[in-house]
Symmetry: none
C-alpha cells in the first residue's frame, strides 16, 4: 500500500479508443474530439488524461508542441496463457508482455529494408508467396544464412551455400533448382525476419 499508488491510474479503455482512432485516421485528434471519443464533456479532463498518457509515454509532443504518439503507443499484448473467464486469477502475473512489432522485427533501422517474396521456392523454410522479408543489408553472409541476393537484376531469397569454390543459392523446395550464378553474384542482405498478413 505504500509505494504502489504513486502514479495515477491510466484507463486502458481510453488508450484503446485512441489507438483505434489512430489506426483509422493516422492522426491524433484535438481535445474536443478526444472528449467525445472518450465520452467526456470537459476538455479540462481530457487535458488531465493526456498528461497521464504523456507521463506513461503513450503520448508525446512534437517540437512544434503538437500531440503525437509516444514510444509506447504501438505496444501490443503478447498473451502467454489464456486468461480463463470464470476462474479467478491464480495470483500470478497479468499473463502477458508488451512488445512493439517494429522493435521486435527491426533492430537496425538504418540497414533494414523489406522485400516482398515471389513464388514458392522457400516454402520448406516457412516462407510463402507474398510474405515480407525483413532484410538487414550487408555485402556478405555466412553459409546457411537465408540471403536476399541480386541475380539477373532481380531479388532472390535463398539459402546461401557453397559447392567447392563457388557460392550457390539453394531453394527450400525440391521442385526448384539450385542457382549457380556464373560470374559471381551480389548479396543484398541477410534475412532477419518475416511479416505476413493473412485475411
Amino acid at each position: 500500500m505504500a509505494l504502489s499508488t504513486l502514479k495515477p491510474a491510466i484507463d486502458p479503455a481510453f488508450l484503446e479508443k485512441l489507438q483505434d482512432y489512430y489506426a483509422e485516421h493516422k492522426v491524433i485528434p484535438s481535445y474536443s474530439v478526444l472528449a467525445t471519443l472518450w465520452g467526456m464533456s470537459a476538455k479540462s479532463w481530457v487535458s488531465e488524461i493526456v498528461k497521464r498518457f504523456e507521463e506513461a509515454r503513450y503520448l508525446d509532443w512534437t517540437p512544434d508542441k503538437q500531440l503525437k504518439p509516444g514510444p509506447r503507443f504501438f505496444e501490443r499484448r503478447l498473451t502467454d496463457q489464456p486468461v480463463q473467464a470464470g476462474l479467478p486469477n491464480p495470483a500470478i502475473s497479468d499473463g502477458y508482455d508488451l512488445i512493439t512489432l517494429d522493435d521486435y522485427l527491426v533492430r537496425l533501422p538504418s540497414r533494414t529494408s523489406l522485400v516482398r517474396v515471389k513464388g514458392d521456392s522457400m516454402i520448406d523454410a516457412g516462407i510463402r508467396d507474398g510474405d515480407l522479408i525483413i532484410v538487414e543489408q550487408q555485402p556478405n553472409a555466412n553459409i546457411g544464412d537465408i540471403v536476399v541476393a541480386i541475380v539477373d537484376n532481380e531479388f532472390t531469397v535463398k539459402y546461401l551455400d557453397r559447392e567447392k569454390t563457388e557460392f550457390v543459392l539453394k531453394p527450400a523446395n525440391k521442385a526448384f533448382p539450385v542457382i549457380r550464378p556464373r560470374g559471381g553474384m551480389e548479396i543484398f542482405g541477410v534475412m532477419a525476419g518475416l511479416a505476413r498478413r493473412t485475411r
Copy 2:
C-alpha cells in the same frame, strides 16, 4: 495544350518533406509548421498546396475536419527491381512504403493481440515454432480460418473445420492428429498475420 493542364502541378519535393516529417512524428503538422517545412512564409499558399494534395488524394480530412494522410500518402514507386549501386533507397518493397510494420500487421489495435506458436503442427501453413501470430480476438470464426482456440487451458493454432455437426481443429502437418474437443471449445480469435524473427 487543351486538356492537359487542367490540374495544377504538385511539387514532389513538398510531398517528400511532409512524408519525412510524418515518418518522424507520426502526425500531420499545422499550416504554419508546414510553411516553415516548405520554406514559405504565407499560410495562404500552404492552403493552396494542401488543396492540391487533397485533390491528388495525398491528403485527406477526418470527419472532424482535421488534416490527415490520404489514400496515396504512403505510396511510392513500384520498385520490385533492385536498385543497383549505392543502395539509394531502403525501407521499401512493393508499391507501398510501409510507415511501420505494426501498421501493416495490425488493423484493429484494441482487438489485436499476439500469441507465440509452440510446436510444428502448422508447418504446412508456413507457421513455425516460435512465430508470433497476430490474432484478432473474436468469439467465432469461419470454416477454413486459422484460429487460435483455447483447449485444456492452452492456446492452440489450427485450421477450423467441421465434421458432421461438430467443430474440429485441423493441424497443417500429417504427423499431428485432428483435435476433436469434447464438449465444445472456445475460440480466442482469428489469425490475421504473422511475425517471425530469425537471426
